[in-house]
């Protein structure tokens, strides 16, 4: 019977091409707009830490003076980071910031290039489940005693050494030799949750060097440096002892107990620092442990605009729905005489209802397919025209399922009333008059 309904539906669509085209167009435009904004929303709202989301915590400290900043800063001072690094409670932890270095190898054919480099601790790789292909992170000893060791990405390895396994090779950063200790697979979490400052959807770095090298190499900070009091930084040493925030700190805390213990440990540190004249905003000086979901929120990874867009496009879809509802009603009522005949011949209400719902679903499906096309085109135009990050305009895989579902769902919703009206047609009314 289903195929019969499908056949009837398809004929009916072809019978009134203009009206059908209107409906398909209306659905597809509604879907196109909704999917476009939903796609951007979904990509932005994605939590790449998945099941680790409530274990990984960014550590935020209220180290500012009174009446300065109204919120916890996302970054902390170097001196605080150095203390947090001595903590024993987290399963893994890492301080980090971004810098840039000129990269060279012994291969004279490859010109030096400036690349972003993540300065961090060995814990980084287990914290964020970075996939190693060869070798591994530098040892924890290096976190204390600086050594010129580096972890690089597969592509960098290919480019500078012509092979994937370059463990043991030497790469030059600002003309200093670093020994490759590990090569990682392509790894690019989106949003770039471990450091969303300066672009939540930027690519992940593919060069990682020990944090312990920072005071030695005086790596420039390619990120935010925030200060709440005037402190001119003339030398790198000034930066290290200043109250300026510029380091991110992450800790892997397994359960609530670990979080409690860790919080207590940091609070005692804050008290000790207050005796030395720091953390002067005594009323508020505290620690905040932001898990990944909270962290993405704190960093406003999901923009306000996106929520507005999603809300407006949902309303837009409603308009399309009402529109289609009207058109369907029009179309079905026009067919009332035929339905009268079918009812007389022995079709039950359910059969008439089913027939019309199948037709509506067909329209929804066509609209959904066209809508996906619109969305794809629109996202494409957005990438081209507004230089949006590629990550934002790639059609999310789940949407290939969601779109037809929304389209058919919308169509079914719009078709419910017209199909109900038509299936309740009183057959005798239409049989006499023709």
């Amino acid at each position: 019977m289903f195929f019969y309904y499908l056949d009837m539906g398809w004929r009916s669509i072809r019978k009134t091409p203009v009206l059908s085209a209107l409906m398909v167009l209306a659905i597809s435009i509604g879907i196109g707009i909704t999917i476009t904004s939903l796609n951007i929303y979904q990509v932005m709202a994605f939590n790449p830490a998945a099941e680790r989301s409530d274990q990984l915590h960014a550590v935020q400290l209220w180290s500012q003076g009174p009446d300065t900043w109204d919120d916890y800063s996302t970054i902390i001072t170097y001196q605080d980071a150095m203390h947090l690094r001595t903590g024993a409670i987290p399963r893994a932890q890492a301080a980090m910031f971004r810098t840039g270095q000129a990269i060279q190898s012994d291969n004279p054919d490859v010109l030096p290039e400036l690349r972003s480099v993540r300065v961090t601790d060995s814990g980084f790789f287990s914290l964020f489940s970075v996939p190693f292909l060869h070798g591994g992170a530098w040892t924890e000893v290096v976190d204390q005693q600086p050594a010129y060791e580096i972890v690089i990405g597969k592509a960098v390895s290919q480019k500078y050494f012509g092979k994937v396994n370059s463990v043991g090779e030497v790469l030059y950063l600002n003309r200093k030799p670093y020994q490759v200790v590990g090569v990682i697979d392509d790894w690019n979490p989106s949003p770039k949750y471990y450091d969303p400052t300066n672009g939540s959807f930027n690519d992940a770095e593919s060069l990682f060097v020990p944090f312990s090298l920072a005071p030695v190499e005086e790596f420039a900070v390619w990120g935010n440096t925030n200060g709440w009091q005037f402190e001119p930084m003339v030398t790198y040493g000034d930066r290290l002892v200043s109250e300026k925030s510029w380091v991110l700190f992450w800790a892997d805390l397994a359960d609530e107990q670990a979080r409690e213990d860790y919080r207590a440990w940091i609070q005692s540190y804050i008290e000790q620092q207050q005796e030395m004249g720091r953390f002067t905003d005594t009323a508020k000086a505290d620690v905040q442990l932001a898990d990944v979901a909270k962290w993405l929120e704190v960093n406003k990874v999901l923009r306000k605009d996106n929520k507005i867009l999603v809300a407006l496009s949902a309303l837009f879809l409603c308009v399309c729905l009402v529109n289609i509802l009207g058109l369907l009603l029009t179309k079905f009522l026009k067919r009332a005489p035929e339905v009268g005949v079918r009812r007389a011949i022995g079709a039950s209400r359910r059969q008439i209802f089913a027939q019309h719902m199948v037709e509506v679903t067909l329209i929804g499906l066509l609209g959904g397919a066209l809508g996906l096309l619109w969305a794809w085109g629109l996202l494409h135009v957005l990438t081209e025209r507004f230089h949006m990050d590629d990550a934002l305009t790639r059609l999310d895989a789940t949407l290939w399922f969601i779109t037809p579902s929304i389209a058919m769902g919308a169509a079914l919703l719009a078709g419910l009333y017209p199909a109900w009206v038509i299936c309740r047609t009183q057959p005798s009314v239409y049989l006499k008059s023709q």
Binding site: L114, K307, L315, G326
Partner: protein, 402 residues
């Protein structure tokens, strides 16, 4: 409009059709009013002039990785090289690029005693030499540019000079001239020597975007990476992008020179989110009106088919073609008017929600008003086309039974 009463009662009798149309109009008014309000707000943001000769100012970054290099000296040398290049009108090193989304911010107080001094508004903190003013192409409305001998080599020097924008001066001193005033960063005294008509900062969404200061500090060479600004005629910029790395590499090859963008390009980047929003919402409005009017046309066409005989009878009874068209138009206007009233309420409700949840400003009344007006025009078009066809129904139809 004389037969408005029978139209209303006939509308009230046939429930679903008019209700659907009404719903659609209400939603359309709510969406279009709010969307167009957001659009105009964003366009106003984008339209703010930066005060800078945007298309003429090219920024780029030089990253020096030669450990043996004296960065300060190299910076001085590099600036001389840049100024000598053909086509270059002015050049300077800088700590930040306007409208780039990355920069420095700071705040002055108006006295040496932190207890009593009042704070000036927060501002974008440019550090540059006597060439910066001309490189930006900003207009000095009062006072003078820096003298070369005033330029300090770092921000910690005890006594400095600065140029501030008129917006800061007016915010703090009102009509009083800020020239000669001394402001403070902790224990550093800064004398204001000039007032710039307009200069925007780095962050387009900052509330302090219009407040900027240029302090007489040559920041170039403070770090291994230095940003430079070069001003040239727009047609020379492409060539300069090639000439600059060549000239600077000739001087010293151990550096990476990249990130060439004009301020106009930075503007495009910085406002792209707002442009995107405006564009998406515009698309939404156009499509919405399109869909609404197409749906309306479809429904009117159906109504006409259903009432063919009735129309024929009316014609036979002496209705003119215009009367038939008017009949359908009046029907539309009745629904539109009802839709408009409810729609305006819905629009302001939606506006209220957006304001509460997403801190948008209060919806201005003009937007729903204009939307309603637009809707009347669009629906008139949507109705007139099929209604004119209805008017062509011959009166003889009334007498035919089938």
């Amino acid at each position: 409009m004389r037969n408005i009463k029978p139209i209303i009662s006939s509308l009230l009798r046939s429930k679903s059709g008019p209700v659907l149309l009404l719903t659609q109009i209400v939603l359309s008014v709510a969406i279009v009013a709010n969307a167009s309000f957001i659009i105009s707000e964003r366009l106003a943001l984008i339209d703010r002039p930066s005060g800078i000769a945007e298309a003429q100012v090219l920024s780029f970054r030089v990253y020096n990785f030669d450990p043996a290099m004296d960065l300060r000296k190299q910076n001085q040398q590099d600036q001389l090289i840049l100024r000598d290049l053909p086509g270059v009108i002015a050049a300077t090193s800088t700590n930040m690029v306007p409208l780039s989304g990355s920069g420095w911010g700071d705040r002055y107080v108006d006295g040496p005693d932190p207890e009593t001094a009042k704070s000036l508004p927060g501002f974008s903190f440019y550090m540059g030499n006597e060439h910066m003013l001309n490189t930006f192409g900003v207009k000095l409305v009062e006072g003078r540019n820096f003298y070369p001998e005033e330029i300090k080599m770092g921000p910690a020097a005890k006594s400095q000079t600065a140029l501030i924008t008129k917006s800061i001066a007016e915010a703090h001193w009102g009509d009083e001239s800020p020239l000669g005033k001394v402001v403070y960063q902790q224990d550093i005294a800064i004398t204001i020597v000039g007032v710039i008509e307009r200069l925007q900062g780095a962050w387009v969404d900052s509330s302090n975007f219009e407040y900027s200061v240029i302090q007489a500090v040559d920041f170039g060479g403070a770090m291994s990476s230095t940003t430079y600004l070069v001003r040239a005629k727009p047609q020379d910029i492409a060539q300069l992008k090639l000439d600059i790395p060549k000239a600077l590499h000739l001087e010293n090859p151990n550096r990476v020179i990249d990130e060439f963008y004009t301020v106009a390009e930075h503007r495009g980047h910085s406002y792209s989110n707002h442009e995107l929003m405006a564009a998406l919402l515009s698309v939404m409005i156009v499509l919405l009106l399109l869909i609404t009017s197409l749906g309306l046309t479809g429904m009117v066409m159906f109504n006409i088919q259903r009432r063919t005989k009735q129309i024929g009878t009316r014609r036979a009874l002496g209705a003119r073609k215009a009367d038939i068209v008017w009949y359908f138009l009046t029907e539309n206007y009745v629904i539109c008017a009802a839709g408009a009233v409810i729609g305006v309420v819905a629009a302001s409700q939606l506006g209220q929600q957006l304001m509460n949840h997403y801190s948008l400003p209060q919806l201005a009344w003009q937007y729903p008003a204009v939307t309603v007006l637009g809707l009347f025009v669009v629906t008139t078009l949507a109705v007139i086309l099929p209604a004119r066809r209805a008017a062509d129904i011959p009166p003889s139809l009334a007498t035919r039974s089938v």
